[in-house]
Symmetry: C2
Subunit: 153 residues, 2 copies
């Protein structure tokens, strides 16, 4: 619905245009754009979804644990949780057993928001992969996975 970014969006020349690293970056930018737009429509961003999903999957947790599970830096967890708390999606309460910790809990509203975001996420996958047949989608995911395994060694 957003009328598409106003700029022509990077449209360089042959030499660069064929580089796999360029294609990957563009695909990521595309995917990221869909995600940001979708999440923005729900007053959220990527970190919010990751944190809410981790809370649902593993239950209440300290901020440090959330950071580890989501791969989000501790400091960014603080900021994102502030935003989530402002929206009433999580609750921060001190851990009686360890006064260094906060226990983060998903609220009812947080759960609803998570469901909303997961719907958005699913829609984005569809939009993203729309041009590929189911078989091609599988191939594509497999190829990506192989690249990433090489990264992780």
């Amino acid at each position: 619905m957003t009328p598409k970014p106003t700029t022509a969006h990077a449209m360089p020349f042959s030499r660069i245009l064929e580089m796999p690293s360029w294609l990957i970056g563009r695909a990521s930018a595309y995917s990221h754009r869909l995600l940001v737009e979708g999440f923005a429509a729900a007053d959220a961003r990527g970190y919010h979804h990751r944190l809410l999903a981790a809370l649902e999957e593993f239950g209440p947790a300290s901020q440090a644990a959330l950071g580890r599970r989501t791969g989000i830096d501790r400091s960014d967890v603080v900021a994102a949780l502030n935003e989530l708390a402002d929206r009433g999606l999580i609750q921060r309460s001190p851990d009686p057993d360890d006064r260094r910790r906060n226990i983060i809990t998903l609220t009812r509203a947080g759960n609803r928001q998570l469901r909303r975001l997961e719907k958005i996420l699913a829609d984005v996958q569809d939009e993203l992969l729309a041009p590929l047949s189911p078989a091609d989608r599988t191939r594509f995911v497999r190829l990506l996975t192989r690249l990433l395994e090489h990264d992780a060694q």
Copy 2:
């Protein structure tokens, strides 16, 4: 050589881990990391390469033209050209025929740097695609291209 980013680098849970949008983002981060590291070793960053390559490919040009050709925002072109000029890789001279414009010219040193960066870029492609056979690389590029065509409509 760089001993790998110090963090475990995002390692979320199943639900997210399988999302194509997540895989693409990770692949892009990986590719971006290789690029940034490579370019940093040559005291450069992505915008530098794009601009130098455009200058070599199309010859001297105004900053606005460079922005159009590289897909870099005008304001970011200014900053990147400042950096390139500091390093003596480009020359800014006023256009006698249109006093609004600067004519940007690649210097000898700029040309050498471009060659260096292109070597780095080629190495990065190899590293990135290392786990894929030539046939798989072609498939991968084709799949990516199809996704992006859908983006561009």
